[in-house]
Amino acid sequence: MKQLRLLIGFWALSLFIASCDSGTNEVPLGELEQGVLIINEGNFSDRDGDISHYNPTTGIVKNNVFEIKNGRPYAGLVQDLVETDGRIYVVANTGKVEVVETKDFNSIGAVSQGLDITQSLVTANDKLYISDWGPYDASYNSPDSYIAVVNNLNGGEISKKILVSSRPSGMFVLGNNILVACAADKKMQVISLASDSMTESKDVEGTPVRFFEQDGKLYLFAKDPGNIYLHEINRNNRNLTLTVKIALERPTSNFARGENGELFVITSTGWPEYNDAVAKVSMTMGQVLDPAFYTGFGFYGIGYHPSTKNIYIGDNNGFQGNGTVIVVNASGQEVSALEVGRAPSGFLFK
């Protein structure tokens, strides 16, 4: 009996130790692994793009997280921020990609040679696929656009450039292919991961911008001066199967996906009034719910925070100084204004 009590005691102690041990294995999330990462594109002549971090709980904004962590400026115009495979890729349209650790933005690699006007990035088969407009020609067109392939997720040398139609921007990995939205030529092109070559090219109505998923379906967002287009893509044969065309005056390329099939699209009247607005659009109803959900000037980026259901709007303040992120609620009321870096243009919600 005594031995049995001893055995039970030992067993209980083991359970306690085991439970304590499993607790110590839980690594708390780093500060930058929660909250909102804000892309600050930067000013063209100063190349002062960087990333801000916003903690919605404390309301604290930390600017220049790349420079602070790595002791050097990012030194580029940030075009995209891609989190995948435990890394964050900071893509500059000034011809480089910096690879940083997700937890603290510690620099672990880069692609800094051979790129021109870089737009976005996806990973597949342990490789980087980087969309790039290529160098401008004499008329500032982009006839030599490409997808650069790098055989290392931490960056390094470019192993191959796959030529595509003019001005590739958004990409999407679909099975053994990559879909590429080529804005200037209004095409969606397909790159085979098996051969790292362009295998298909499909015409797109409107200027294609980027891909997104909604209710398990894959869409390509496109626009022209009077409409937005939501092209549904057949995941099997990659054909554009169904198009929702919604009349919307002067949409920009900036949109965010909300809930229940809602999209928030930045519009701009341009010269001479130059009034910007956020239009609320229903994909399912195929109509604009509110063309002036929120109005103002200098809208440069937009995002939708899925847990707070707030809309984040980047205001570039005319590129004269740092920008502002205006946070508005589902009713279009301003909740707060955040002082962020130069030209806030995009968001990564974590």
Binding site: P73, T94, S268, D315, N317, N322, E339
Partner: protein, 625 residues
């Protein structure tokens, strides 16, 4: 009305003077070819001339380098040999007027000059007018003016000058000049080539590991031809003319982290012709000229041409009054990459000096410019100097000026497609300054101190803002500038030795008074890339033919954006050099100099991520026959 009355009074009085046919009083037998003195109507204002020694030591280098290293002025330099724009008293790059032999040479499309493509050697004298000068010079002179002049001489016979500069990073500057003059005719021809590879080492902050790399794609190649002529037709009449062709081809140094491979070619032709008629206490000047600029950026071509015709009468009325009345007509043609436009300008100006007592001198300047039927702001200035104390050792002088200035919107501001705004108003300013100058001389010591406090308000400041997919200018900004300038010069002779000190300090506050929208945080903040403080000083020791010097310039922090949240660190650069003048065989004179720039190999940026060279060396050789 007062302006027109004064103009009419002067012209009527001139007719009367001509009719009575007084004898000439102006001495035309001087060696130097006559040119209108730049500082005659500037009582109460600060006008400084760059020393001949500095002009000599900077031969072949840019005026930007000279001003950055030897004055309290700040130049926004995008790299060595790259675009360099001047800021005076905290104003913008387009708020200073630049003249070459009296012709305004700011680009009419950009509204400013690139000081990196004005080589020292393309002029004989550089004079700086600090502060508002719109009434004297016309458009652009809100923060000040820079005058580049040629100084031709008579009675010098034949003269050949050869100047060679070798230096680090592939620098090789070569110039040759031939001059001939007798007592009636003077001619000088000059040709130069300036070359720099600019392949200096720098720390690439944009790359992982911040490697030290060689700068590439920053080569500068410059050629120029100049011709000066002067003909003394008679004791009463003189014709002088200058032609300057300058071609600069540059690989544009990319900002760190960029793979840009831009190229720029600037082709500038400037021609001026002056006719002077000397009457009794008067000088008539008829001036005509042309400034043609051809800028090719990559494959984008921008051409402008300015044609000038002006006439004025400068007149001494007894011992208490001087007067100058004039008119200038300007025709501008622009064929830019996105538009073609013309602009016609007419301006009337009147300058008057009055000397009520021996110790008080006053200048009143008035100007009205009309462009394309639009009246620019009427610009008066009133300045005075009062010699408070004058004795054998000391002279103490009080200076003050109040003035208005303006800037006509540039062709790009008005006509650029897309975005040009035809409804823009001219930028305008109102400024006042108060200064004290002390000259001291005792035995072998001479010294001069000058301090000036200024305050200026600039309104209708034009800035370009994004308008959807393009940018457009608006009269949106108001700025209050205030600050202080201090100048020091002192020389002490110690037997065969001369010890000299020269220094400048500039304190410029340029405070934005406006926000462009509710979220803007620019109001109350210092303008970007406008250092509040700049210090420069030079100490030299001279004995006989040998001179050695050490020079330092320190630039305070510069904010990158209008909200002042990010900034560049201050930097200080030390330069040193030694010069030796020699004479061989009685006729051959020359100079040999060695300069070490950035002696301490300081790593610095004038503008963000624009690499600048570390320690570098230069050898100057000049020979005169």
């Amino acid at each position: 009305m007062l302006f027109l009355s004064l103009l009419a009074f002067n012209l009527l009085t001139f007719v009367e003077e001509i009719s009575i046919g007084k004898q000439d009083t102006l001495d035309l037998h001087q060696i130097e070819v006559f040119s209108m003195p730049l500082d005659k109507y500037t009582f109460g204002q600060t006008v400084k001339t760059i020393s001949e020694k500095d002009i000599k030591n900077f031969q072949g280098q840019s005026l930007a380098d000279l001003l950055q290293q030897r004055t309290g002025l700040f130049l926004r330099q995008y790299g060595p040999g790259m675009l360099a724009s001047l800021t005076m008293r905290g104003t913008s790059a387009g708020h200073n007027a630049v003249f070459w032999n009296g012709l305004p040479i700011n680009s009419p499309s950009l509204g400013q000059s690139d000081f990196s493509i004005l080589p020292v050697g393309g002029f004989d004298q550089a004079t700086l007018h600090y502060g508002s000068g719109g009434a004297l010079y016309g458009t652009d002179a809100i923060g000040g003016a820079v005058h580049l002049s040629n100084k031709l001489q008579f009675d010098k016979g034949h003269q050949v000058k050869i100047n060679t500069v070798f230096g680090s990073f592939g620098r090789w500057n070569q110039s040759a000049a031939y001059a001939f003059s007798d007592h009636k005719f003077s001619s000088r021809s000059r040709i130069y080539r300036n070359h720099a590879k600019n392949n200096f080492k720098y720390t690439n902050l944009a790359k992982i590991g911040t490697p030290i790399e060689n700068q590439n794609h920053a080569r500068v190649e410059q050629w120029g031809v100049m011709q000066d002529l002067a003909w003394k037709i008679s004791d009463k009449n003189l014709i002088s003319s200058s032609i300057w062709w300058n071609l600069t081809e540059r690989q544009i140094q990319p900002v760190m982290g960029s793979n840009d491979r831009d190229k720029q070619e600037d082709d500038n032709l400037r021609v001026v012709l002056d006719y002077f008629h000397f009457g009794s206490g008067k000088v008539w000047n008829l001036k005509t000229g042309m400034v043609r600029d051809h800028l090719e950026f990559n494959q984008s071509t921008n051409r402008t041409a300015q044609y000038f015709l002006s006439g004025d009468l400068d007149w001494d009325l007894g011992s208490k009054w001087n007067s100058k009345s004039g008119v200038r007509f300007t025709y501008i043609e622009g064929n830019l990459s996105t538009y073609a436009a013309t602009d016609t300008r007419l301006e009337l100006y009147q300058s008057t000096n009055f000397f009520p007592t021996e110790s008080i001198s006053l200048s009143l300047n008035l100007r009205q410019l009309v462009y394309e039927g639009n009246f620019a702001p009427f610009t008066p200035s009133l300045g005075g100097e009062w010699t408070v104390l004058k004795n054998e050792n000391h002279q103490l002088q009080l200076n003050t000026t109040i003035s208005r200035s303006f800037k006509v919107p540039t062709l790009n501001d008005r006509f650029w497609v897309p975005g040009g705004n035809l409804d823009l108003n001219p930028e305008k300013s109102l400024s006042g300054e108060l200064g004290l100058k002390h000259d001291f001389k005792k035995g072998d010591f001479t010294g001069s101190n000058q301090v000036t406090y200024y305050h200026m308000s600039v309104d209708n400041w034009i800035i370009w803002l994004p308008n959807g997919s393009f940018w457009s200018p608006s009269n949106i900004r108001k700025v209050k500038n205030s600050g202080l300038e201090y100048f020091l010069e002192a020389n002490q002779k110690l037997g065969l030795w001369t010890v000299g000190v020269q220094g400048n300090y500039a304190w410029n506050q340029a405070i934005n008074q406006t926000n462009i929208n509710d979220n803007d945080r620019a109001k109350g903040k210092q303008l970007p890339y406008t250092p509040e403080h700049k210090i420069q000083f030079k100490a030299s020791v001279e004995k006989g033919r040998v001179e050695t010097y050490v020079n330092h310039h320190w630039v305070g922090e510069r904010f990158i954006g209008t909200d002042n949240t990010t900034k560049l660190s201050p930097f200080g650069i030390w330069d040193s050099g030694v010069n030796y003048d020699f004479e061989l065989f009685g006729k051959l004179k020359g100079g040999f100099g060695v300069q070490i720039n950035n002696v301490l190999n300081t790593d610095y940026q004038v503008l963000r991520l624009r690499a600048m060279p570390g320690r570098n060396y230069q050898i100057n050789i000049n020979i005169t026959l």
